[in-house]
Every structure is written in structure tokens, then in C-alpha cells.
């Protein structure tokens, strides 16, 4: 498939072109997924690193697309959203497999149970983040960029023209909201006894 230059798409999207924005998103999504898949093939069972994935995608953009990027923030935004989407899609497909029953994996070490639970939690985070965005768009964006996009608080502060302290406190609040919404005290944190004892 002949691809429109991603830089150009991003620049057009920056100017308000919604279809360019969609196309850019699709390209970044596919790129990230390919990078992740290749990484997993090279190194089965490896833990993916969000920051590394996104930066590799960005490096690829920088290497292959000659034109100047008007806004790095825009790429960040799309990359973070694409990562989020990849995870959500993976979770949905996993749960669909599970409901379908027939073709599902099995395992003895509980890995698949964990994956099933993680898939459900991921969808909860996704929904909770949508709800947070209705009240506090900036905090939701910080979560998306930091958690899904792997960007540092410094990077986010710089791109959004905020103080790093503000970003950090947005993150702290959003993180607390998500943790509570997930009922993490019961489920996800089950392995972290220290936190439970203090609660």
C-alpha cells in the first residue's frame, strides 16, 4: 500500500484535517503494532517497554519522513492514543476468544488467568479514562501520554507548556482515581501487601 507521508499527514492534521488525522493515526497504529510484534517474535515473552516502542516509531518517522514536523505534540498524542488502542484491541480480542471458548489458549501456570484478568482491567482503565476526560481533560491527557505513550513528565510538561509539578499532581490524582475505580485494592494490588496494610 502506498503510504502518504506521515509527516505530511501529521502536518495536515495539525491544520485541522480530520481525515489526515485518521490516516496518520492508522499509520502510527500499524507501525507500533509491527514494532511490538517483531519485538515479541525476536524475544518471546519479553515485557514490552512503552517508551521504547513509541520512540522507535518516532525514530522511524524521523528517518523515513524528510519533512519537518510542525508539532511533536501531535505525534505524541497520536502515538499514545494508538498504544492505548492496541492494548484495548488486544484485550477485546482476548476476551472475545475467551467467550468463543473453542480456540482459546490454556496454561497451567495461571498466566492465562492473569491475562484474562488484565484484559478486563485494561478495558476498565480505558472506560475510566474516558469518564475522567469528561471532568478533567488535562488529567486524562496526562494519563494517556504518560501511561500509554510512555512520555516523561518533563516531556509532557514541555509539550503542554505546563509546570512539571502540575503534570505530576495531575498524574497523582488521575492515578488515584483509576486505582480506585479499578478496585485495585482488591484485585491488582493483591500482590503488594505493603500497600494493603497501610490502607
Amino acid at each position: 500500500m502506498a503510504q502518504t507521508d506521515l509527516t505530511e499527514l501529521l502536518n495536515r492534521a495539525q491544520g485541522g484535517d480530520a481525515s489526515a488525522r485518521e490516516a496518520a493515526f492508522a499509520q502510527i497504529y500499524a507501525d507500533l503494532k509491527r514494532i511490538a510484534a517483531a519485538e515479541l517474535r525476536r524475544n518471546p515473552g519479553a515485557t514490552l517497554n512503552t517508551t521504547a516502542l513509541v520512540h522507535e516509531a518516532y525514530a522511524k518517522l524521523a528517518a523515513h519522513h524528510a519533512g519537518a514536523l510542525a508539532s511533536r505534540a501531535h505525534f505524541f498524542s497520536l502515538a499514545a492514543r494508538a498504544m492505548r488502542q492496541i492494548l484495548v484491541d488486544q484485550a477485546r480480542s482476548r476476551l472475545a476468544d475467551k467467550r468463543g471458548g473453542r480456540e482459546a489458549h490454556t496454561g497451567l501456570d495461571g498466566a492465562h488467568e492473569i491475562a484474562d484478568r488484565r484484559a478486563e482491567e485494561l478495558l476498565l482503565v480505558d472506560e475510566a479514562l474516558d469518564r475522567l476526560a469528561e471532568h478533567d481533560e488535562r488529567a486524562a491527557k496526562v494519563v494517556e501520554w504518560h501511561f500509554f505513550g510512555g512520555f516523561t513528565f518533563g516531556e509532557i510538561a514541555a509539550e503542554l507548556d505546563l509546570s512539571e509539578r502540575t503534570v505530576r499532581s495531575d498524574w497523582a490524582l488521575a492515578r488515584a482515581v483509576l486505582a480506585r475505580e479499578l478496585g485495585l485494592g482488591d484485585a491488582v494490588l493483591a500482590g503488594s501487601g505493603a500497600g494493603l496494610r497501610n490502607a
Partner: protein, 949 residues
């Protein structure tokens, strides 16, 4: 999310970095901050304080989702190998399947091309992949979709090209056509055909499931992915990991779940699941949740449900499932009959070797079922299910449960033999219905969470056997005989006798009489009558059995059993000489016959040893028991029978007053039981209780008390608080406590044992009687003579009715004690004299066996002023106490004190008196304590001794 978000956010922000005191100030109270806002912020601060998994980034958090790789197939390659991809057919755990085409020399080949998720690492794995692929490619059969091609693509992912089948998974195909059960089974036979062929070519499918069994528009079955699972194994070491990753748990056999070796039996199991699903639309296990873990657990631990019962699970739409099979729920349940259930239960057996030996055997059974012929496979060993059930619920089941399970195993065999013998479909059906109904009650599902005791099942079975099977006297007789034997081992002799008499009558009524079966029933009846104390009847029964067995070789095991039973009856009725002649004959015959088993000889020698013990021929008893033990050890040193032999030897040693050897052998038996059966096994607990009692008799009270307490607690936990198994150590501990004058504790122990036995066996039973004796005696010693006397008189009368002479000793002595202490010395003397005479006869004058009776008589005579008579008795028991191996106990002390008093009264020198009293005092201080009344009295006697001179 909270309405006052800005306020929540601001307050949270402010609190975040604040010290606790400042934080409390910020959060304020209801007047400064709205309660809802404050609660929200507090909750968020609490959540904040916890480590959240979100901190590591989304990809790390989501890592489990990527464990099996990630699909990056949004833009599939145009070609894989020589194939052009046409369209996606499906995707799943294993990867993606496309319809693909290859144009070759003018004709177009359509294939199903499957690309597998995840890679094949290493040259060796790839070589192995190619090798396996070659084997599979040669697997050409109508019913098997051929593997045409395969390779590894540029990304290192393996792919296969399979014969493209335009079909539907077999379950959906059947449902769409509302195919009835029998038609489904016929179609399933085609599946078996293909699998059997592959097995003959040494290829196991490993992943049979509906998605891999397609049926095309013409109703032709095609099996997909034969051996693919194996193909994808990297190497043997990682077979489990890879295999299981790709394996569908629903159809995985227990050995696959455990990661053990896979064989053709693994496919038989998966076929069983598939057949179950085709037949019912359901899976064979009822799992509490749909998680894989739960299913894997079920595969390992649960017995497959009966198909007809599965339809009655909660939430199952039985009408829809039945409609898809062209029938009603009732019709479907009826079609899923006992034979069908049996076929499934064999195919789905947990152990591979218990399944059908081959796919052909499974097919043969299904054909037999279709044609309503008797099945070829062995009937489902229901008792094995029962045994497994018992294993799962071991705690909470009685000791007798194990006996029961063992005996039920015997029933299974009886029914099986009956089936073989008759080869009669009607009999087979009767037997099947009987067993199914009998064990249905054990089924946890049907019990609906109620704790069904095996005793209930047994009672149900016995009632059914009594009332049913009228047209099947042979089966009925054999069954009643087995059931009767179980009741004997449970100690319910009365019930056992009733059943065994019916068994005997049913077997006698048969025109084609089976003499062995009849003789066995007679022998079991003899045993039950014997245990019930009906020795004359037992003699008649045993003789009837022996007449039937007269033609058998003298060493025939059944005949030996009969002879030894007869010996025990003679022993119990004090025909010791006759018993001796008989058992000597049996031992001689066994020694002369080279084919006789060491086990039989061991049994006979143990019986001989027991007789010699009763004959007070102690050395011979020891020799016989030692040889019996050695033989049993030679057969199998770990067999529980060795522990029984150790027990018997210990009893013989105790009888010749070698308590330390007896204790040593009981310890050894205890160790053996613990090693073979574990700490809480009924046999372990039984030996432990005996050891505690032996230690108590040897005045080793500290160890004995600890062991008793442990034993009683363990028995309560294992059997339940009110079980008869708890009563025995309670009663024995009561004896030990009573001996040490700890009367209140003794009364509690005896009272509890009395209550348990009275409830279980009724008032008129020797065990109930013995606890009653102890209870009455303890009450009396506690000062309640008024309550105690009627109880002790009752116990005394009962003992005379129920017990053999040797066991009448204690009830008589306790009543005599009461009489003595309430100054009715005439009656006390009369009772004690009679008791000494009885014991002397029963024990052939060996006073070492009944020194306490002698002591008491001596004391009463002294109190009556008959010093000479008293001295005769007391010197005798002094010698007895002094020449046995037992260390001095409180009763020895009593004897010593009484003898000292008599000697003193007869003006013997202080040197003849003082040592006795000193020795008694030492013992009393050690065993009873310095402040015990008897200790104090002895000390006082010693103190005034010089003055008395």
C-alpha cells in the same frame, strides 16, 4: 467522578505533599469541607498511598496480553510460500487461517493455509518440523484432511497448507440438521475411523475438538490438523509449554494438563469429550467458573458427569438441546442410557490405561450400543468412583469407610462375575440398574451438598438387595453375601446375620447351585454369628461350609478360612483341645504343600499362636506368632497385615508378661502404619490407641497420657465426635485414669464412651457394658455410691450374659469393690471367690493374668479376719506381680500393702513387712502422688511400724 471535581482536585493537590497534621487540618471537618468532598479526597489519598501497577507503563502492565504474541496481520502478505492468499477463513489462539490458491500446470489448487502465531526457534526445531511434516504428509485417508505443504516464512513463523475442506464443525453440522442421538453416533463412528487409521500409522492427533472435525455438505467427515500440535513442539523438553499453549483445555486429557506423555489414549479421551458434547451439547464437567484454571482442575479431579444428568444442570436449556437432537428432554435423557453413560465414563477415565484400549474398542462399544448388544468393555468399576470419592473426602469418613470401600470393590467383582457367568442381557441390565441406583446416592451432584455417609449408601443398597432382584437369585445371593460381610466388618452383627441368612437362602434356592459361593456365604454367616456371640449357630454354619468344601484340597484358601473359623469358635467356647487338633492339622497341611502360600500359613500360625496364648502355652504362642510375623514380612514387609501380626505378637507378649517387648512391637506396628498409611489413617490410629493402652498398663503414664490425648483428638477429627472409634481410646484412657485414682476424669472418659457405644450398639452390648462398668466404678470412687450401685449391678449381670469368662473379670471386681467398701463383705467375698475360680479356669491357673482379682479377694478375706485365706491369695498375687515383667503400679502397691498388713497381723518380723511397705510407698508416691489417700495411708503404716513391734 465527583460533582465538585475542582474542589476535590484542589484539596487532593493540597493534601498530597502535606504532613499528616497539616493534612488533617486541610481536610477539616463538616463545617469547613462538605462531607462528600472530604470522603472523596480521603478515598483518593488512600488509593494514592498504594503502589499502583500503572506506574510501569501500559505495555509492561499489559505484558500478559502479549504472552502469545500479537497479531500484526492487518496487511497480510500477498503470498506465503507458493500460495496466494485469497481471504481470511478464521483466526484463533493458534494463528490465522486463510483460503489460499496455487496455480500449477493449469489447475488451481485451493488450500487452507495456516500461519502460526509465534516463531520456531533454532535450526533443530526447524529440522524437526520438516521431519514431522514429512510423516504427516503421507497420512492419506478419506477422513483426514491432508497436509499438503508447509514451511517457515521470512519472519520465522511456521505455516501449513492443508487440504481445503468446505465444511462445518461437526457439532454445528449436527445441530443444524437436528440430528438424533443415534445418527450422531453413526457419524461419530466415521470420526473414529479416521482417528483409528492415524493411530495405526502411529500419529496421534493431540488436539481433537469440533473445530478440527468438519463435515461437508455431503455429510463426509474430515479431520483437520492431524498431528499439528506435535509438529509445533520445539523439542521434548518444552513440549509441555508449547503444547499447552496451543492446546484447548476443554478437550485436554488429564495427562496433557499435567504435561505428561501423550498417547493414543489421549485421543480416546478427547473423543470422549467430543462424543459427550455431540450427545448432550454440554461438556462433561460442571465447573464453578469458566476459567481455564477451573476447567483444568475439573479435568484432573472431577469424574465426568453422567450425560443424562448433565442435562439437568442449572441454567441448561434442555428443551433447546433436545430439540437440536429431534426429541424432548425426557426422550433425550432416556436415549442417554446406562450403556451410553458407561461408554463415556470409560473413554473419559482419568488414567489412560483405564480408557478403551484403542479407538477401535471405543467404536466396537458404540456399535454394540447402536445394536443394543451388551458392551464389550468392562463395566465401569463404580467402586473405583466410590474409592475416589472417599479419597477426596477422606477426613470425615469413618475407618469403616475404608473397609466399606474395600468390600464394595468386592461387590463390583461379584457383579462382574455374575455378568460374565450369565451372559444374559436381562441379568446384565438388572445388575447395572442396581449398581447405578446404589451409587447414585454417593454422587456429589445428586447429594446436593448433603453429606451422604457411606453407611446410608450401604443401607440403601442392602434394602434394595433384600427387596429386589427376585428373578436373579444368583446375583441377589452373591450381593447379599457381600453386603452382609461389610456389615460384619462394621460391627453390625445383627444386621449382618439377617442379610447373610437371606444370601444363603437365595443361593440354596438356585437350581444350578454354585457351591463355592454358597460356602462363602455360610462362612460369612458363621463369622457374623460368631461376632454376635451365637457360637452354636456359628458352629453349624461353619460346618455346613466345610461340608461343601470337603472335596477341595486341604490347603484351598476358602477351606483354610473355614477351618480357621472353626478353630476360633472352638477357642471361644473353650474347646481348646479340639481347636488345637484342628489348627495343628491345618498348619501341617500347609507346611506339607509346596504350593500353599506363605500368607495362608501366616494366617494359620497366627491362629495357632492365639490358641497357645489361651492355653497359657506362652512360649509356643510366641514362637507361632514370630513365625507368622516373619512369613508376613516375607510376603510384603509394607503390607498392613505385618502390623496385624505385630499386634498379635504383642498380645502374646503381654500375656506372658513381657510388656516391654509388646510395647516395642506395637511401636513398630505404629511406625509401619504411619509410613504406609499416614498419621491419621484408621489403622494408624488403632495401633496408636493400643500402644497408649499398653504404655498405661506398663505404668508409663506420661507418654501414655500424651498419646491417648493425641489419639482421641485425631479420632474425633477423622471419624467425628460421636463415632465408635472414639469410644475405644476414651474407655482405655478411663481405665488408666481410674487406676491412678483420677476418678472425676475417669468418669468423664467412661461416661463419654458409654454414651457413644450405647447410641451406636444399644445398651446390651459388651462394649457398652465395659464403659458402664468403668463409669459406675469411677462414680462410686468419686463418692456417689447411690448412683453407682445400680449401674454396677446392671453391668455385672450384663457381663455374665454377654461376655466370655475372661471378660467378666472387671465387672465382677468393680461390683465387689463397692460391696467391700459399703461393708457387705459376705457378698463381696462370694463374688470374688467365684471370680478367682472363673479366671483360674479360663487362664489355666496362670495367676499372672488376674492378680487384681486375687488381690481384692485377699483384702476382703483380711478384712473379714481370715488371715490365712488372705495370706494365701496375697502371697500368690505378690509372686505374680513380682515375677512378671511389669514395673510396679498402684495395684502392685495395693497387693504389697495388704500382704504387709497380713504379715504384720500374723506378727512377722518387721524385716518381712517394712520392705513391702517401702516398696509400695515408692510406687504410690511416683504413680499416685504424695497426697493420694493410699499414699498417705501407707506412709502412716510405715511410720507406726516400729511402735507396732
Amino acid at each position: 467522578m465527583h460533582r465538585d471535581w475542582p474542589q476535590v482536585k484542589a484539596l487532593f493537590d493540597a493534601c498530597l505533599d502535606a504532613a499528616p497534621a497539616a493534612r488533617a487540618r486541610l481536610l477539616g471537618d463538616d463545617t469547613t469541607v462538605p462531607p462528600a468532598v472530604r470522603a472523596e479526597v480521603e478515598a483518593l489519598l488512600a488509593a494514592h498511598a498504594q503502589p499502583a501497577p500503572l506506574d510501569g507503563g501500559a505495555a509492561a502492565w499489559g505484558a500478559p496480553l502479549f504472552a502469545a504474541g500479537i497479531d500484526d496481520v492487518d496487511d497480510p502478505p500477498e503470498r506465503i510460500g507458493p500460495y496466494r492468499l485469497v481471504r481470511e477463513l478464521g483466526r484463533g489462539g493458534m494463528g490465522v487461517v486463510w483460503l489460499a490458491r496455487r496455480d500449477e500446470q493449469g489447475f488451481e489448487q485451493r488450500v487452507a493455509l495456516k500461519r502460526v502465531r509465534g516463531g520456531l526457534d533454532g535450526a533443530e526445531a526447524r529440522a524437526r518440523f520438516r521431519r514431522e511434516r514429512g510423516i504427516l504428509a503421507r497420512l492419506a485417508h478419506d477422513r483426514i484432511a491432508r497436509l499438503l505443504d508447509g514451511g517457515v516464512d521470512a519472519d520465522g513463523r511456521p505455516w501449513f497448507a492443508l487440504e481445503y475442506v468446505e465444511g462445518e464443525p461437526i457439532d454445528r453440522w449436527c445441530d443444524a440438521r437436528a440430528l438424533p442421538l443415534r445418527a450422531r453416533v453413526r457419524l461419530f463412528l466415521d470420526v473414529l475411523d479416521g482417528v483409528a487409521w492415524a493411530h495405526r500409522n502411529l500419529v496421534v492427533h493431540r488436539d481433537l475438538k469440533p473445530a478440527n472435525v468438519l463435515v461437508d455438505g455431503d455429510g463426509r467427515v474430515k479431520l483437520l490438523d492431524f498431528g499439528i500440535a506435535k509438529l509445533l513442539e520445539d523439542d521434548d523438553a518444552s513440549a509441555t509449554a508449547t503444547g499447552m499453549l496451543l492446546m484447548t483445555p476443554t478437550y485436554a486429557a488429564p495427562e496433557q494438563v499435567r504435561g505428561e506423555a501423550v498417547s493414543t489414549a489421549t485421543d480416546v479421551y478427547a473423543l470422549g469429550v467430543l462424543l459427550f458434547e455431540l450427545a448432550t451439547g454440554l461438556l462433561p464437567y460442571r465447573t464453578p467458573s469458566s476459567t481455564r484454571q477451573a476447567f483444568a482442575q475439573a479435568v484432573l479431579e472431577q469424574e465426568a458427569e453422567r450425560p443424562a444428568r448433565a442435562l439437568q444442570r442449572a441454567g441448561v436449556d434442555a428443551p433447546a438441546l433436545a430439540a437440536a437432537r429431534g426429541t424432548t428432554p425426557a426422550g433425550l435423557r432416556a436415549a442417554l442410557d446406562a450403556d451410553f453413560a458407561q461408554i463415556l465414563s470409560i473413554a473419559l477415565a482419568k488414567a489412560p490405561e483405564q480408557r478403551h484400549a484403542s479407538v477401535d474398542a471405543l467404536a466396537a462399544d458404540l456399535r454394540a450400543w447402536l445394536e443394543r448388544r451388551p458392551l464389550l468393555s468392562r463395566p465401569t468399576p463404580r467402586w473405583r468412583r466410590l474409592a475416589q470419592f472417599v479419597r477426596r473426602h477422606r477426613v470425615g469418613f469413618a475407618a469403616s469407610t475404608l473397609l466399606l470401600a474395600t468390600a464394595l470393590a468386592g461387590i463390583g467383582a461379584t457383579l462382574w462375575q455374575a455378568r460374565i457367568a450369565t451372559r444374559n442381557a436381562q441379568t446384565a441390565q438388572a445388575v447395572r440398574e442396581f449398581t447405578t441406583g446404589l451409587f447414585a446416592a454417593v454422587d456429589p451432584d445428586q447429594a446436593r451438598g448433603r453429606d451422604v455417609s457411606l453407611r446410608e449408601v450401604l443401607d440403601l443398597g442392602a434394602r434394595r438387595a433384600e427387596t429386589g432382584l427376585a428373578d436373579q437369585p444368583a446375583v441377589r445371593g452373591a450381593l447379599l453375601s457381600d453386603l452382609g460381610a461389610i456389615y460384619t466388618s462394621l460391627g453390625d452383627d445383627a444386621r449382618s446375620v439377617v442379610l447373610l441368612e437371606q444370601a444363603r437362602d437365595a443361593l440354596l434356592a438356585r437350581p444350578d447351585r454354585d457351591d463355592d459361593e454358597l460356602a462363602r456365604a455360610w462362612l460369612r454367616l458363621a463369622e457374623a454369628q460368631f461376632e454376635d456371640g451365637r457360637y452354636d449357630a456359628a458352629t453349624t454354619s461353619a460346618d455346613a461350609a466345610l461340608r461343601l468344601l470337603a472335596a477341595h484340597a486341604p490347603t484351598d484358601p476358602l477351606r483354610i478360612e473355614g477351618e480357621l473359623r472353626r478353630v476360633r469358635i472352638d477357642e471361644e467356647t473353650d474347646h481348646l483341645d479340639a481347636a488345637g487338633e484342628r489348627v495343628e492339622r491345618v498348619v501341617a497341611a500347609l507346611r506339607a504343600d509346596a504350593r500353599a502360600t506363605p500368607a495362608s500359613l501366616s494366617d494359620a500360625l497366627a491362629t495357632l499362636g492365639n490358641l497357645r496364648r489361651l492355653q497359657a502355652r506362652g512360649e509356643e504362642a510366641l514362637a507361632a506368632h514370630e513365625e507368622a510375623l516373619a512369613l508376613a514380612r516375607r510376603v510384603d514387609p509394607d503390607d498392613p497385615i505385618v502390623a496385624s501380626r505385630l499386634h498379635e505378637l504383642a498380645a502374646a507378649e503381654a500375656a506372658v508378661a513381657q510388656p516391654q517387648q509388646a510395647i516395642a512391637h506395637l511401636r513398630e506396628a505404629h511406625v509401619l502404619h504411619r509410613r504406609v498409611h499416614g498419621e491419621r489413617h484408621p489403622l494408624t490410629l488403632s495401633t496408636e490407641g493400643e500402644l497408649a493402652f499398653a504404655l498405661a498398663n506398663s505404668a508409663q503414664y506420661d507418654e501414655s497420657d500424651a498419646l491417648f490425648e493425641r489419639n482421641i483428638a485425631a479420632r474425633r477429627a477423622v471419624f467425628g465426635t460421636d463415632h465408635v472409634e472414639v469410644a475405644t481410646p476414651l474407655s482405655n484412657h478411663g481405665v488408666s485414669l481410674y487406676t491412678r485414682h483420677r476418678y472425676a476424669e475417669a468418669a468423664r472418659s467412661f461416661g463419654e464412651a458409654w454414651r457413644i457405644w450405647r447410641t451406636a450398639y444399644g445398651p446390651e452390648h459388651s462394649s457398652t457394658r465395659s464403659a458402664l462398668t468403668g463409669y459406675g466404678a469411677s462414680l462410686f470412687e468419686s463418692g456417689d455410691a447411690a448412683t453407682a450401685e445400680p449401674l454396677l449391678r446392671q453391668a455385672y449381670e450384663m457381663s455374665r450374659r454377654l461376655d466370655p469368662p475372661r471378660n467378666q473379670e472387671s465387672a465382677t471386681n468393680t461390683l465387689a469393690l463397692l460391696l467391700e467398701r459399703t461393708q457387705r463383705l459376705d457378698e463381696a467375698e462370694r463374688l470374688l471367690r467365684a471370680n478367682v475360680a472363673l479366671q483360674a479356669e479360663a487362664n489355666h491357673g496362670d495367676v499372672r493374668v488376674y492378680p487384681w482379682t486375687t488381690t481384692l479377694l485377699g483384702r476382703v478375706l483380711r478384712e473379714r479376719g481370715d488371715l490365712a485365706g488372705a495370706r494365701e491369695q496375697l502371697e500368690r498375687c505378690f509372686i505374680a506381680f513380682d515375677t512378671d515383667d511389669y514395673p510396679d503400679g498402684p495395684r502392685t502397691a495395693t497387693c504389697l500393702v495388704q500382704l504387709a498388713l497380713v504379715r504384720e497381723a500374723q506378727h512377722e518380723a518387721a524385716t518381712q513387712v517394712r520392705p513391702l511397705l517401702e516398696r509400695a510407698l515408692t510406687t504410690q508416691e511416683a504413680k499416685l502422688g504424695r497426697d493420694d489417700a493410699e499414699t498417705v495411708a501407707t506412709r502412716a503404716l510405715l511410720a507406726r511400724l516400729p511402735l507396732a513391734r
